[in-house]
């Protein structure tokens, strides 16, 4: 039904394994000198909960609650976390599918959070989105040509008689047969549909792409095709990606920088090495240890892992203090009383925990107590002087608190 012998998939012409390898990429690398294309500061989104009869607001779902990060030009930042942690909402805020409750999102000198929809329209050309489900994100009654051409028509970027040739160009770029512009989405397989969605996002040559779980609906063998295509496009057109996914291994491959979210907050953010090899937050450590590993086949049996009990609490009424404390294996009294600030502990590594440390090396005393002006159990300490500059900043400072040497590190 969906397969057609004439549809050209990449590699339809016989390719040897070496040629196949040449078309693939190893993990993306971090370019620390790239200027930021998007700077998000203290972004918040509260959805009101209304009663059914009087439409009175009785509470708020704190989907995103004070998130700050930077996406470098042509780079990729990964957002990971369990379902309900607010990673998709963050993506939808950046594409302004929602207007945020608070905070700022600076993109090329404009604050996307505060401008009107009318002012937003020209900027939508530069910020595009790839959706998770290639079945529901394409209109079944429109041809592929009309779907991919829609952004070109809306933004009036090419003359009407040139639209078709531009659409065919785009189809070719994403590895589809350009002759198929007059087919309908149902004539394509899942992987091909995702390519159509990518062609549509690419049509306006965006500078930033928000990819919300772009491969999780696809078969394993097709996932790698789409990831390699995204890497091709990123290199060719210098597109920055905000890559939202729950698959930690795919994120590791695609994103040189990763932010881990839990209940609407970033709990740890850093470059690939800091997060995957040197995680200091117990949640990040638990997430990483839960990923099943193919290499385990050599020894058999399960990997040692940190057991997290229970489910993610409701974002309507999040736990006091640290939001992770209800499931945290190392939580203490202070965790219920104070929210841990996002501390920079490495050149490109920040963590929000009172007891940050490598697995099994978490300190006994809270490191943050003095900064917050409290004693070890979280009670106010009259002798301490709390730090005043604990507001989360996007990006990284030149100095940080080095945990190993208990000194201030410098870049």
């Amino acid at each position: 039904m969906t397969e057609d012998a004439t549809i050209v998939e990449p590699g339809e012409e016989r390719e040897s394994f070496e040629e196949l390898v040449k078309h693939t990429h190893s993990a993306n690398e971090l370019d620390t000198s790239a200027p930021p294309v998007l700077t998000v500061e203290n972004l918040r989104m509260y959805f009101p909960i209304k009663t059914s009869l009087m439409r009175r607001t009785v509470g708020h779902v704190q989907a995103v609650d004070g998130v700050s990060f930077v996406v470098p030009k042509g780079g990729a930042l990964g957002l990971v976390g369990e379902s309900g942690c607010g990673k998709s909402t963050t993506g939808q805020l950046i594409t302004r599918l929602y207007k945020p409750t608070g905070g700022s999102m600076t993109f090329e000198g404009h604050d996307l959070a505060s401008i009107s929809n009318r002012e937003m329209k020209p900027l939508r050309r530069d910020v595009q989105m790839i959706f998770q489900d290639p079945y529901s994100s394409l209109n079944p009654r429109h041809t592929v040509g009309s779907i991919v051409g829609a952004p070109l028509r809306v933004h009036d970027v090419v003359p009407k008689n040139k639209t078709l040739s531009r659409v065919q160009e785009l189809l070719e770029v994403v590895g589809l047969n350009p002759e198929h512009y007059n087919r309908y989405p149902n004539e394509f397989s899942g992987g091909q549909r995702q390519r159509i969605g990518i062609a549509r996002a690419l049509a306006l040559q965006p500078k930033l792409m928000v990819a919300d779980e772009p491969v999780s609906a696809l078969d394993v063998s097709i996932q790698a095709q789409v990831i390699n295509l995204l890497q091709d496009l990123q290199r060719e057109f210098d597109i920055a990606f905000l890559f939202i996914a729950h698959d930690l291994a795919v994120v590791r491959h695609f994103c040189p920088e990763v932010a881990v979210m839990y209940l609407g907050k970033i709990v740890e953010i850093g470059d690939r090495e800091s997060i995957y090899a040197n995680a200091h937050h117990p949640y990040t450590q638990a997430l990483l240890s839960a990923v099943p590993d193919v290499k385990q086949a050599a020894t058999g049996g399960r990997r040692e892992r940190i057991r997290l009990t229970g489910d993610v609490p409701s974002p309507i009424d999040p736990p006091s203090g640290c939001r992770f404390r209800t499931r945290c294996p190392i939580a203490q009294e202070i965790c219920a009383r104070h929210e841990p600030p996002l501390l920079q502990i490495g050149k490109r590594h920040k963590v929000a925990c009172h007891f940050p440390g490598r697995l099994g090396e978490h300190p006994r005393e809270p490191l943050t107590a003095r900064l917050l002006g409290v004693d070890a159990s979280g009670q106010p300490d009259p002798g301490a002087s709390p730090a005043t500059d604990l507001v989360e900043q996007p990006g990284y400072a030149d100095t940080w608190f080095d945990l190993d040497g208990k000194t201030i590190g410098r870049a």
């Binding site: 394994f17 196949l20 790698a224 291994a249 638990a286 990923v291 590993d293 058999g300 057991r307």
Partner: protein, 357 residues
């Protein structure tokens, strides 16, 4: 992994199973000539892409295909009882009792109108007609507690929509295990779940297996899950077994290019960052008109290493692999081990090549 003694003979034996569905477009050859077996206390992992016949073959074990339309041949023996052609009445005695299944989508598999407790009790009373309602309810409560649902006495009177995804999956497992089945078929039991919840569910399955010494078939596309859970692995492509053997052999010394492709198209959280994600080109074939010869040949990147046109014209037999006892593969390649070590491994796991030197 599990050390419980087995009673010798395998509990489930599938032999030369073929399942075909006539459709308006022609005959869909969903499963062709499939054979495998599972012993008590052991876990078999079945991997493959969507449409490779992994779910169809396990649904045949439970007799879930429409008898009027599905054409099933071959043999499926559950504890010595032939299931193919078994009457619906006898099948019902087996289903949910000796053999149970856990489905992927727990929300769609639980009835939205009935309370969790009532659904569990029904499963129990169907196979224990003498049990009273009270007994069934206490058994349901016991199972909910066993699978780790907090406050089971409160949860038993709730509806499926009041449960979170991980808890629904637990409730499904509780329902599957309520009659102490000897064979549990888990069809993508953790695909829709977060990694932390997935790990909890996998732990639970392993604990229960050790406790009840049941045989488990786990159907998944996640090779990591297979590596951690399964004793044996069956790789399926286009309705056929293409590689079969112990998990260690199949995942560390695979000899079939499709298995290589599966391994190379998923990145690893601990891999070298120089490792590449090498996709399998193209898309899975239509089972209405499967390719001639080896079903994988249109997507195979190693076809030119086989002399002549063998891959296109002749279906390779499922033969013993070069390495490993009981390791079978369906491929024409003369020396697959050398190709894997020389070409594939350096690209997908450069650090492992260095270790070997």
């Amino acid at each position: 992994m599990s050390t419980a003694p087995t009673s010798g003979d395998p509990y489930l034996v599938v032999d030369d199973l073929t399942v075909r569905f006539p459709t308006a477009d022609g005959l869909v050859q969903a499963v062709t000539g499939l054979s495998y077996q599972v012993e008590l206390g052991k876990t078999l992992g079945i991997v493959g892409e969507s449409g490779s016949g992994k779910s169809v073959s396990s649904m045949a074990v439970l007799g879930l295909h429409d008898r009027r339309s599905a054409q099933i041949s071959g043999s499926i023996k559950v504890a010595g009882t032939e299931v193919v052609g078994l009457s619906e009445g006898r099948m019902r005695e087996l289903r949910g009792n000796a053999v149970a299944m856990i489905f992927q989508d727990a929300l769609a598999s639980l009835h939205p109108f009935y309370k969790i407790g009532a659904q569990l009790a029904e499963a129990y009373r169907t196979h224990h007609p003498k049990a009273t309602k009270k007994e069934a309810r206490s058994r349901a409560l016991e199972m909910l507690e066993r699978v780790g649902i907090p406050q089971p006495d409160k949860r038993i009177d709730q509806y499926p929509h009041q449960f979170s995804g991980g808890m629904r999956q637990r409730a499904m497992i509780a329902m599957g295990l309520i009659n102490d089945p000897s064979l549990l078929i888990a069809d993508e039991p953790t695909t829709a779940l977060d990694v932390t919840v997935q790990a909890q569910i996998l732990d639970l399955l392993q604990d229960l297996q050790q406790e009840f010494n049941s045989a488990i078939i786990i159907i998944t596309h996640d090779l990591g899950v297979v590596a951690e859970m399964a004793d044996d692995v069956l790789v399926m492509y286009a309705g056929r077994a293409v590689e079969y053997g112990s998990a260690k052999e199949v995942l560390t010394r695979p000899e079939m290019p499709y298995t290589w492709g599966l391994l190379s198209s998923v990145p690893d959280v601990a891999a070298d960052t120089n490792a590449r994600m090498i996709p399998i080109p193209g898309a899975p074939p239509s089972l209405l008109d499967p390719p001639s010869g080896c079903p994988f040949h249109p997507r195979c990147a190693h076809r030119e290493k086989v002399p002549g046109d063998l891959c296109r014209t002749e279906l390779p037999e499922l033969l013993p692999a070069v390495h490993g006892e009981g390791h079978l593969k369906r491929c024409h390649l003369a020396d697959p081990e050398a190709v894997f070590a020389a070409e594939v491994l350096p690209e997908i796991a450069p650090e492992m090549v260095e270790e070997k030197r």
